[in-house]
Amino acid sequence: MDKYLEMIRIRFLMMLAYRTNYYTGILIYGINIGAYYFLWTAIYSGKEEIQGLSITQMTTYVAISWMARAFYFNNLDREMAMEIMEGKVAVELIRPYNYLGMKTMQGLGEGIFRLFFFSLPGLIIVYFVFPIQITLKPSVWGLFAISILLSFFINTQLNLLTGITTFFLYNNTGLIRAKRVVIDLFSGLLLPMSFFPGWAQGIMKFLPFQGISYIPSMIYTEGFTHQQAIQAIGQQFIWVIILLIPIQILWVIAKKQLVIQGG
């Protein structure tokens, strides 16, 4: 366990060394939030609420989902692809730790860094620029915290899955890019799932994507009742467990294939 904690720490420090990159990052997220803020204002134009969300809630939803994204987002899939293509993964495999577990911890270190140096200052800036509502209820913050932690795990698991496919596809940059756009839309980052037509929502219920962005953002904006929120967190938790299965299976097959390639 110690070595995994150490990995989080190292990643955190590494990110700290390159923190200047993050100031422009906050600006980029601010610009994105701004674009969607104006778009949504135009969409609402006079309407009190759409799908149970008021315009203030919607703005908050947009802001909070971008800021949460800074926490759960990582490039583990691309890092894995690089390591696999360059053959570094062979060395990683003989080290005394679980490769996938280690990757997850690195991602977590990165996420924690961004949470403190990106999301929090970013949220304060956004608060002064756009009319968003920051809740003061500790219960909402508590549920939100649990929820974004689970978002992180679901997103990371999907990244690991994409990364593992490099073993079979050799070049999966296209897949990585495609995965990213799919997650942006179907996770609810760009718009809440409740805006989709009914049939699409029906399909989405059976996919893990909405656990990444929609659920934590709805919890924060109180678009969910307390009951719904707890149910949604349960749903996220189940997905974290389910996703372990394909990862484990693909990982075992991939390792076997790697051995064959190495002769």
């Binding site: 990052g25 980029i28 994105n32 134009s45 070049n171 296209g174 890019r177 756009v181 805006f195």
Partner: protein, 262 residues
């Protein structure tokens, strides 16, 4: 001039040869591009499930603007692949090599960094425009195709000008900047009608970072939005001004360039 044109075709044929060696990469890339375009369209469609008009523009008009935007954007991505100018040319000192070449340094870099497969985005854009145009019953006049080409070139020059200027920053400040991704995000504003933004942003998008000339302004002409015609016709003017400015800045930068040491 003839020399430049022959150089262009030389590089182009080389480029096509190398790309066709790796056909599967090409197909995958094409599909992932198509996917992100489809997602932007899905976004528009879903949004219009909840509203009739967006700042006075209908669903099909917004789709048409997006389709138009894809065309100059594709031209820009095919020829101005200078995202990593700083790392690739300044930090690694590759610019020294460029400067020994007999053609203009910016042109040389454009040739080396061609990404012609991006032009496929223009096909998607045309298809989207055709779909939306049919639904809107737009009439095609004899001068429309000509103006379309002029507007597309104008839009691509706006994009090119802004990104060349950003690349020029590396001549003066050698720090790594994330200005390029930021500008990409700002450019997304230009895909929607500018009248939904507040006056400051509208002013910026028109005169300072004129991304509105890549999407909504020129598209407004084909949508027969008379109140925007002035802006539509300004498209090539703004494009030329910004691009000329960027070339001027580039030349100044090259003069100042001292190499990255050895």
């Amino acid at each position: 001039m003839v020399f430049y044109v022959t150089m262009f075709f030389q590089y182009m044929s080389q480029y096509i040869k190398t790309r066709l060696q790796y056909r599967s990469d090409l197909i995958v890339e094409f599909f992932s591009d198509l996917m992100s375009q489809a997602i932007n369209l899905v976004f528009i469609l879903v949004v219009f499930g909840h509203t009739q008009l967006l700042g006075g523009w209908s669903r099909d008009e917004i789709i048409f603007i997006y389709g138009f935007f894809l065309v100059p954007y594709a031209v820009f991505s095919a020829f101005f692949n200078i995202w990593d100018f700083n790392e690739r040319y300044i930090v690694r000192g590759e610019l020294d090599r460029i400067l020994t070449r007999p053609i203009h340094s910016l042109f040389q870099i454009i040739l080396e960094r061609l990404e012609l497969e991006a032009l496929l985005g223009a096909v998607t854009g045309l298809a989207v425009m055709f779909y939306a145009g049919t639904r809107l019953n737009l009439q095609l006049d004899w001068f429309d195709p000509i103006l379309f080409i002029i507007f597309v070139i104008g839009g691509a020059l706006v994009y090119g000008g802004i990104f060349v200027m950003l690349a020029c920053v590396s001549f003066w400040a050698d720090a790594k900047t994330s200005l390029m991704p930021m500008m990409y995000n700002i450019s997304n504003y230009g895909r929607y009608p500018v009248n939904i933004y507040n006056t400051v942003i509208r002013f910026v998008l028109t005169w300072i970072l004129p991304f509105a000339f890549v999407g909504v302004y020129p598209a407004a002409f084909f949508l027969e939005k008379k109140e925007w015609y002035i802006y539509s016709f300004l498209t090539p003017v703004i494009g030329i001004i910004f691009f000329a400015l960027s070339v001027f800045l580039w030349n100044q930068g090259v003069k100042k360039y001292r190499g990255a040491g050895n």
